[in-house]
């Protein structure tokens, strides 16, 4: 009790002391940070619109749509992203629901399996995948399995990339959905729905999923960002989605590659804003989802 009185006096004193001092360093820190983070964005824009000897021109932007390979690579990336999102959610949602209904040991197993890809950098994963793919011609060329090897590496829709991206996305999808499910009493909901005569599929689709809307959106966004920006796996396996295309045009069309990079940042930004509005916990959605996308950007 005695501590309360000094506490209130200290609080009366504190604002005078703390309000003056931090204002300087806080302003300085934020200004320097702002400069550091804004300069590349602004000068990228200047770089794309200002051509020496020609003045201002927006040719770098207007030329994007007609650029050779742009539509194909973007379409490929988007369809890979869609397939990856569907596959990752189809795998992780039932597993996480099962974890909450099944034996406790299952929970640890699923968590470890989903977190393991964090330990394997994308470049290490791709060396492993390349090795496995080389087995196809080496060992299986006379067996029916060889057709599978070919189909998986189909140029127009490389399934192997979907599989690799799903592996890379597992940690983030798992973390996002696990956080969402923590707020839901799954066993009670499932029992209640089942007692009312609902089937298993119905329970998942109409009872569990609606409760997870914002974390599903978060997981999908992270996966989309991961797939759109992925370069390492695709380039080393010899495919040509969006990020690989940007690099391939950078030699001849430096301005355009910068313009596309800038646009892709703005699109990501817009998606994130939409996402944080869509989710119910708008403030919570960003920090919960954001620290996770670490290896994804490569």
């Amino acid at each position: 009790m005695a501590a309360l009185t000094p506490a209130s006096t200290a609080r009366a004193v504190a604002p005078v002391k703390t309000a003056r001092r931090p204002r300087y360093w806080r302003g300085a820190v934020l200004t320097v940070a702002g400069l550091y983070f804004l300069t590349p964005l602004i000068s990228s824009f200047v770089f794309t619109v200002q051509v020496p000897n020609q003045g201002l021109t927006f040719a770098a932007y207007s030329g994007i749509l007609s650029a050779d390979g742009f539509t194909e690579s973007l379409f490929l990336s988007l369809s890979l992203a869609a397939a990856t999102i569907v596959l990752a959610l189809l795998l992780v949602v039932p597993a996480l629901v099962a974890v909450r209904l099944g034996p406790p040991r299952l929970r640890a197993v699923v968590e470890i399996v989903c977190m393991l890809p964090l330990v394997v950098p994308p470049i290490a994963l791709v060396t492993g995948i390349a090795t496995v793919l080389r087995w196809g011609p080496d060992h299986f060329s006379r067996t029916p399995l060889y057709q599978t090897f070919l189909a998986v590496q189909n140029e127009s829709f490389p399934v192997v990339l979907v599989l690799a991206y799903t592996v890379l996305a597992l940690p983030f999808v798992h973390r996002s959905l696990d956080a969402g499910l923590r707020a839901v009493d799954v066993p009670t909901l499932v029992e209640a729905a089942r007692n009312c005569g609902a089937g298993r599929l119905y329970v998942i689709l109409r009872v569990i999923l609606p409760n997870l809307r914002s974390s599903l959106a978060g997981a999908s966004f992270l996966t989309l960002a991961l797939v759109l920006g992925e370069y390492t796996v695709a380039s080393l396996l010899g495919f040509r989605p969006f990020a690989v295309w940007i690099v391939s045009v950078s030699g001849a069309e430096a301005r355009m590659s910068v313009a596309v990079s800038l646009l892709s940042l703005l699109i990501t930004w817009a998606l994130l804003l939409v996402l944080s509005r869509a989710g119910t916990g708008s403030a919570a959605a960003v920090p919960a989802a954001a620290p996770t996308p670490v290896p994804g950007k490569e």
């Binding site: 950098p121 290490a124 994963l125 089942r194």
Partner: protein, 305 residues
């Protein structure tokens, strides 16, 4: 209160669960089947490449006799000469950038947390979420346009006359900080929020100076989060490949670039196994990083409630 229709699946909930409620809830048999697709997928698409990597890194096949034997030769080669240089280069770059980003990220986060304006906080957190994602290829090109040879800032400031070179260790450091600092902000803001003002008041009331408060209360509470954040940034910088690949080519020795070179056949035949061994080295280092990070994260989450 009878269970009206236990549905198609035989058994679950029919007998035991109606009266006991929470305590005697029976677990449906075969619930683990839901996790089966995930486990099979992971075994096939993650376990198989990982196994192939391990196998290739640790064995040697004699092309003439066709025999395979276990050998440490590839691993030994991956820890010698230019490969060792690339490994230490990667570790140095990651440690330096992670350390800088930890300090700078905490400063920014503290500036945001102590600010009374909610809008600033929201803006910084959203921007951090986006910028932490802004890695890879687009980031490299944004910096080429800014600080590259004919970059805007380079030309305005005549930085090339000062010896500035983006395509170097220093240049990579500046670029990596661009996505590492926002990541640190995101990691550490919840921890700083967990520093209750009451603790500070209590410390000041009992006669502590601000320095003593940070020394004995603030930093010990924050330590797991800070260390965890550092380790996370280290792992993130260590695994980064795209930015460096788009930018420096081979001028900075990094292990990811060496692996990519060996994989795409830019080097002598027979280097594939060294690429696999290098990948194994990376996995070991990343595994150590995670082994430090996960317990720290669990520890720090105590204060985030």
């Amino acid at each position: 209160m009878t269970v009206p229709h236990p549905s198609a699946a035989p058994g679950p909930g029919a007998a035991g669960s109606k009266a006991g409620g929470r305590t005697s809830r029976r677990r449906p048999p075969r619930a683990w089947l839901g996790a089966l697709p995930l486990l099979v997928f992971a075994g096939l698409c993650f376990g198989l490449p990982a196994g192939a990597l391990l196998y290739g890194a640790l064995t040697r096949t004699d092309p003439v006799a066709g025999t395979t034997e276990i050998t440490g030769e590839h691993l030994a080669r991956s820890l010698r000469g230019p490969y060792l240089t690339s490994l230490t280069g990667s570790v140095e770059l990651s440690a330096l950038t992670a350390g800088l980003a930890t300090v700078l990220g905490v400063l920014i986060a503290q500036a945001v947390v102590t600010s009374r304006r909610g809008a600033l906080r929201g803006a910084v957190l959203t921007a951090s979420g986006v910028l932490a994602n802004f890695g890879g290829i687009p980031l490299a090109f944004a910096f080429v346009a800014t600080l590259g040879i004919s970059g805007v800032v380079t030309e305005i400031g005549h930085l090339d006359a000062l010896g500035w070179n983006l395509y170097s260790f220093t240049g990579l450091t500046v670029i990596y900080l661009y996505f590492l600092i926002p990541l640190m902000v995101l990691v550490v803001v919840p921890a700083l929020d967990g520093l209750r003002p009451q603790w500070r008041e209590a410390a000041l009331n009992t006669g502590a100076t601000t320095w003593q408060f940070w020394r004995h209360v603030g930093l010990p509470v924050l330590a797991p989060s800070l260390l965890g954040g550092f380790v996370l940034l280290f792992g993130s910088a260590f695994a980064a490949h795209a930015t460096a690949a788009a930018l420096v080519g081979g001028s900075v020795p990094l292990v990811t670039l060496k692996i990519a070179d060996a994989l795409s056949g830019n080097v002598l035949v027979g280097q594939e196994n060294v690429a696999l061994a290098l990948s194994l080295d990376m996995i070991v280092i990343a595994g150590l990083v995670m082994a430090v990070y996960l317990p720290l994260q669990r520890r720090s989450s105590r204060w985030l409630r």
